[in-house]
Subunit: 378 residues, 2 copies
DNA sequence: CCGGTTGAGGAAAGCGCTTACCAGAGCAAT
DNA sequence: ATTGCTCTGGTAAGCGCTTTCCTCAACCGG
């Protein structure tokens, strides 16, 4: 026990600013000033402080710092939790993580440049007081970024009055800003490609979560193009994939079981559900894109590893996160009427781009699948 | 401006415990006691407090709470940042995120059950003072979980004296605990499968990061089996994939360019680099598993979407994270000599399991690729 | 009927910082 | 030499909680 110093020193308290002040022979105020570069202290003072800091390995405590009226330098991120632990029929759902996690990574990179960290919390919407948990998170942070409709409008409103809030793929309110991919133009390009270039006349839209603004606007953009071309669009409750592979597969299974005739092209609300659709079709020996074309949305990395490789609409996922953070950052630390307020209520759309691969019916490029995949990445 | 209340109320300060106390007509001590269930307050008091809390929408401030001697209820997580922003030749590297992110998700679920949140920070190892950044993170948390060798042993030692630390895929020290998958038994099973079941006599090991304990122990386990069977194992600097698709592809390209004869089977240190190997081989028209068998490690979700589907060794990735958190949690909040200390210095190995698919040379199961993929998930 | 015990609420002392505010030194201008 | 700046360091007042300690009332047994 007494042999290893680690044992006795074990959980020693980290040094405080008082320890530094004592070691340096100055007051805590001077230490703080040196560390925060305020009021330029004398060179000698600065040096003594820095020496003491190095010697003790001092780092200011985040909580104390935050309490001293400053920022916590933390932003809370709330993601919607898929329920693979009880509904574990589809381990595929794991990939659901990709999309929000990549967005978070984009945030994190930018956040770091401003000294901020991300406090991540996932919530299960079925859980009764998801609202409470989110409020609790809010009190640990300087601002909140909410993925994908995770709070009721009323709760959102209450929350955003107390703390800056940015939503992703939501709808802006007078007190929040929303950031999302430009669904309209992306879907427009995809729809035209299917209708004009491939001459498909019957399409279906496999929707996402009920009420998801992304799913809605993608669906509407598609419907508009279909209508303009005089083609046919299948929609409705049976065409709902809930953004998940399991949901997409289930929808197709049901339709086939019901004897419904499939459309020439199935446009999925996201890549994830397109994966499920591909699985289900393949199970029934239906050729893609020969019999039915399938497309996704988001262009998550796995899309290019599928067979056939998935045609999709790419959003710069990391930009989504980076923009969300930048926006939130601009809102933090200013009172009402400050410059941050000017931004509130805005709806920021980031560009999207059609990525044609095989699943829509396009030919693979001459160089062959593998090289294409690699080339595409560059 | 005065029209919308949101404008004037804008960034109103959230209510404090004093506001609650005043509203309820009690002291702040009583409010605190009611909220924390201490010293069972009278029913009437409790009710008045709860009413006031509800009325004001009060939530205690995390920083103040932490400063009051209690826990921050935050644990810091440090992941190693892949450098796709400068080395963006392989957008595939995005998938690198999957592994750490899935581990984090496992942590998060369990952490939440204890009221903890995850403060995530990625560090670029090339950055000079990664150490400082990690120390800073430590002061925002009650404990730290470090992925994949992100700190020098000296820095780790200093850090772990100030705050509980758990490493993932590292090595335990007297003051830290390490959690990792059981590489030995997983690799042993894989090696036997290749050598005994498939009778391959020349294999290669495509290593991960230099010095990665995971990569080393996997390599050693493989080497032991190969030696025991009297087969041949290729290794060395040219067989290094650094855990990334780009690295795996590059290694194969170099070997082929150098005219090296490929082994019958390539055993990759992880799935990610196996993906790169598959790409490169496919580019050169080399059949997998016909000409060369390829295997991975980890069994990330994308493994089953590859063609051929990747044989790998599955770790319960979420368990890795969950266990890391549970371990850390046990170390938090106890001084030296407490029960938490008993655990220090331990090395926890979680079970692994061989998953045979096509890339090792096994036949696809009778039900066909698609159904197999789905069935596998259940 | 009184000292002693219990139990509940309030006052106040921190927790480790930041940041007014103040005091004193050095110096220029009067 | 006196006044008045500027410039630097120290003192102390919070920040919003938790928790210890104390007070006071109600209730017990002798």
């Amino acid at each position: 026990m007494g042999i290893d110093p680690a044992d006795t020193d074990g959980a020693r308290q980290p040094p405080t600013i008082y320890d530094v002040a004592r070691t340096a022979g100055v007051s805590i105020a001077s230490v703080s000033r040196v560390l925060n570069g305020q009021r330029n202290p004398r060179a000698e003072t600065r040096e003594r402080v820095l020496r003491a800091v190095a010697e003790l390995g001092f780092m200011p405590d985040g909580a104390a710092r935050a309490l001293g009226g400053r920022l916590k330098e933390v932003i809370g991120v709330v993601v919607r939790r898929p329920r693979w632990f009880d509904d574990s029929q589809f381990a595929d759902e794991d990939e659901n993580l990709q999309f929000p996690d990549m967005i978070n990574r984009g945030m994190e990179i930018v956040a770091q440049q401003h000294g901020f960290d991300l406090l991540v919390r996932s919530v299960d919407l079925n859980e009764p007081d998801a609202g409470r948990r989110i409020f609790a998170l809010a009190r640990k942070s300087d601002g909140l970024i909410l993925h994908d409709r995770v709070l009721s409008p009323e709760a959102l409103d209450r929350l955003s009055r107390q703390i800056p809030v940015v939503t992703l793929a939501g709808v802006p309110t007078p007190t929040t800003v929303n950031v999302h991919g430009d669904n309209e133009s992306g879907m427009r390009a995809l729809a035209r490609h299917l209708i004009v270039d491939h001459s498909y006349r019957t399409l279906a839209y496999l929707a996402g979560h009920e009420g998801s603004p992304d799913s809605l606007s993608r669906g509407e953009a598609l419907a508009a193009q279909v209508a303009a071309a005089g083609a046919t669009l299948l929609t409705g409750e049976q065409w709902r994939g809930r953004y998940q592979a399991a949901g997409g597969a289930r929808a197709i299974e049901r339709l086939i079981a019901a004897g419904t005739e499939l459309p020439r092209a199935i446009v999925c609300a996201n890549d994830q559900s397109a994966i499920g659709v591909l699985h289900a079709l393949s199970l029934h020996g239906i050729a893609v894109p020969g019999d039915v074309a399938v497309t996704g949305f988001d262009d998550i990395p796995v899309a290019r590893h599928l067979r056939p490789r998935l045609t999709s609409v790419r959003q710069s996922i990391q930009d989504l996160g980076a923009t969300a953070f930048e926006t939130l950052y601009a809102m933090i630390g200013r009172g009402a009427g400050g410059p941050g307020d000017a931004a509130r209520g805005r709806d920021i759309a980031l560009p999207t781009r059609l990525v044609r691969r095989q699943s829509c019916g396009c030919d693979p490029p001459p160089a062959g699948p593998a090289s294409r995949t690699v080339a595409e990445a560059g």
